[in-house]
């Protein structure tokens, strides 16, 4: 599904990703762990198409297509979703408006009819209920004045509505209390199936008790330095990143 080969990325002439490799097959859940500043968010943003990051070497293919050739919105329509580490506040744009526009853009891309207001409302309410999100969050401006937990839950809510093929979750667990963490994990687990993959970026092993990954990768200084199964997360928890 996703193949990242020898990816080098610069920002402001500073190399951040230094030969990143990862291959994700359909249905798999990969976790990327690593110390602060190792380049995890950079990878996530590059996958989503952020222009400030300059790819100097390497390639990324997604479902057979050259991902780096696509605009951010095309990537989203092709099935990529990024849950931002720091979701952006957009005053004046209602959450529900963004979501309906996003969903309908994706449907249009697939030559499907736009969803009517009523149908969208029904869908949104269903998903919100499951995530324990208050309905008035729909009417509020995107992420504006949301608590940290609300922002993260809102990202998962968007993911559920948009039903991506590959979801990249960038530290969606940080700053969550245990109840919120479980809700987020349930939100992810309920979407796991043989055709959908996840890259779960986290700093802590805690989340992986709830979202059990198929593979764990350790990222240090812009590359993967070790990969293994879920037990690698436990090892990291005990020994820390110092050994890498």
């Amino acid at each position: 599904m996703l193949e990242v080969k020898n990816l080098h990325v610069q920002v402001d002439d500073k190399e951040i990703l230094k030969g990143m490799n990862i291959t994700v097959a359909p249905g798999e859940v990969h976790s990327i762990m690593g110390p602060n500043g190792s380049g995890k968010s950079t990878l996530a943003q590059v996958l989503a198409g952020k222009e400030a990051y300059e790819v100097t070497e390497g390639e990324v293919t997604f479902q057979g297509k050259d991902l780096l050739d696509l605009e951010p919105e095309e990537r989203a329509c092709e099935g990529i979703f990024l849950a931002f580490q720091y979701p952006v506040e957009i005053p004046g744009v209602a959450n529900t408006y963004l979501l309906r526009e996003a969903l309908n853009a994706k449907r249009e891309y697939r030559d499907e009819k736009p969803l009517k207001h009523v149908e969208f409302g029904k869908l949104a309410r269903e998903k919100m209920k499951a995530l324990g999100i208050d309905e008035d969050l729909l009417k509020r401006s995107v992420n504006t004045g949301f608590s940290g937990g609300e922002k993260k839950r809102n990202e998962i809510f968007q993911m559920q509505i948009l039903e991506p093929t590959l979801a990249v979750l960038d530290e969606t667990d940080s700053g969550l209390d245990i109840d919120a963490l479980k809700i987020v994990a349930n939100g992810v687990n309920s979407m796991r199936d043989s055709g959908r993959s996840f890259i779960v970026i986290t700093h802590y092993q805690r989340l992986l008790n709830y979202i059990v990954p198929d593979f764990v990768h350790v990222m240090v200084d812009g590359k993967i330095v070790r990969s293994g199964g879920k037990e690698l997360a436990h090892e990291l928890e005990e020994k820390g990143y110092a050994g890498f």
Binding site: R75, I90, G92, L99, L162
Partner: protein, 448 residues
């Protein structure tokens, strides 16, 4: 013979007798006296220059060099159909039409709202309600201090007169449409409006300025508003004039005790535009909400001049002005708040936000607080920036096209001021005008 002004101070002063003899020969004595008094104001003042503190950012050289004349051709250039095209879909309300500053009865509705409400042309009101008009006309807009007000007071021909007696709710808005036409030479047009809202009464007035052609002219509007005790007025000034016109306008509001106004200005047309909003919160417990949106492109120049005058205790005022500037256009926001000595417990707030769509657009924003007592709360804030790249990327990462993402961002920005309009059909029409304007910018490859 046309009455022509060559741009000099003398020409505007000297042509008045000609104007009085031809256009105004049947006017009542007191109006003629008023006009004469007013022109002596202009004789003293002349047009302001850049060294005038209140005109620092707006150069009137082109106006001073321009030759303009009084319109002669009546209303023939404007059809019912074209007037209808300026309506607001879904808005059912009476409309009065003025062409080049003159009343066009054949294009206007006769308003019979009952309850003693009067909606008619000012010239009719001068002959039919002389005493009432005399009590208010030129009592607030000071022709001794402001050159444009003195010119208007000297040369106005017509405009709307709205009178809502005490204790009366006038539900329907009034749509006042001012159309300018091309008569082959640049015109000098002076619409004059007078709105009187009685004690505990309610009114809504939409002043709407459009051009039938993209010609050069000098339009100079003065609107005086009297808001009686506990009265409530919502006022709109929608300026969609020719991109080649010089547009000056003043809204002068006198607010009595516990009265409430909402003023909405939307400026889109004009080459050099100056919009003065000047409420005086004269009685205790007044509230003024002043909203503005200006959008400019090319070499347009838009100067928004606020003068919010707190003259009594316990009054609140709010200014929310947003500007969107593209091309080489220039904007000015000059927000003056004047708090008089006795106006304790004043609460005045001012916000001006500007979105620059090009590297060459420019905005000068200047708050100016003049406070003569200690017991006040005054805040102001201004921002200038380009479209938020992070927000655009966030929207795009959800599948929304870059074009649509920009449109959403612009909608949000302009909505901050438009959303306060209580007349939905007007707000929606303006939203779509603003969107069309922006789509045009995007098509030109700008508007990033």
């Amino acid at each position: 013979m046309a009455i022509v002004f060559d741009g000099t101070r003398e020409s505007y002063v000297e042509r008045l007798s000609e104007f009085l003899d031809s256009e105004q020969k049947n006017a009542p004595e007191w109006i003629t006296t008023l006009r004469r008094e007013a022109i002596s104001g202009f004789a003293e003042l002349g047009f302001p220059t850049l060294s005038d503190e209140e005109w620092r950012f707006t150069n009137l050289e082109a106006l001073r060099r321009g030759s303009f004349s009084i319109a002669e051709n009546g209303i023939s250039g404007v059809s019912k159909k074209s007037v209808d095209s300026y309506g607001f879909p879904g808005l059912d309300c009476p409309r009065l039409v003025f062409v080049n500053g003159r009343f066009a009865p054949s294009l206007s509705d006769t308003v019979d709202a009952g309850k003693g409400i009067l909606v008619k042309s000012l010239s009719e009101a001068i002959s039919e309600q002389g005493d009432l008009v005399k009590d208010h006309l030129a009592r607030y807009a000071d022709y001794e201090k402001d050159a444009f007000i003195s010119l208007n007071t000297s040369y106005f021909e017509d405009g709307v007169f709205v009178y809502v007696p005490d204790g009366t709710v006038f539900e329907q808005p009034v749509h006042v449409l001012h159309v300018s036409t091309d008569e082959g030479r640049p015109l000098f047009i002076n619409p004059r409006n007078l709105i009187i809202v009685g004690q505990s009464s309610v009114a809504k007035v939409i002043e709407h300025y459009v051009s039938a052609s993209q010609s050069v002219y000098f339009s100079n509007v003065v609107t005086e508003v009297v808001c009686g005790e506990n009265a409530n007025l919502e006022h709109y000034r929608l300026e969609f004039e020719s991109q080649k016109a010089f547009n000056f306008s003043t809204l002068r509001v006198n607010q009595q005790k516990n009265s409430n106004i909402a003023s909405h200005s939307v400026l889109c047309g004009g080459a050099i535009v100056r919009n003065n909003v000047h409420p005086v919160l004269a009685g205790e417990g007044c509230n003024s909400d002043i909203y503005g949106l200006f959008i400019s492109e090319g070499r347009q120049h838009m100067d928004n001049f606020m003068r919010v005058e707190h003259a009594s205790p316990h009054c609140d005022s709010r200014q929310f002005y947003n500007g969107v500037l593209d091309g080489r256009s220039k904007g000015v926001f000059h927000g003056r708040i004047l708090v008089h000595e006795g106006a304790e417990k004043t609460d005045a707030k001012q916000t001006n936000r500007n979105l620059l769509l090009s590297d060459t657009a420019q905005i000068d924003t200047k708050p100016q607080l003049e406070i003569y007592n200690d017991d006040v709360k005054c805040t102001h804030g201004a921002t200038i920036g380009q479209m938020d790249e992070e927000a655009l990327f966030y929207l795009r990462s959800r599948g929304i096209s870059v074009r649509q993402a920009k449109i959403i961002m612009l909608q949000a920005f302009t909505g901050e001021t438009l959303e306060h309009m209580s007349i939905d059909s007007v707000r929606e029409a303006l939203e779509s005008v603003v969107m069309k304007w922006f789509e045009q910018r995007l098509e030109n490859g700008k508007g990033r």
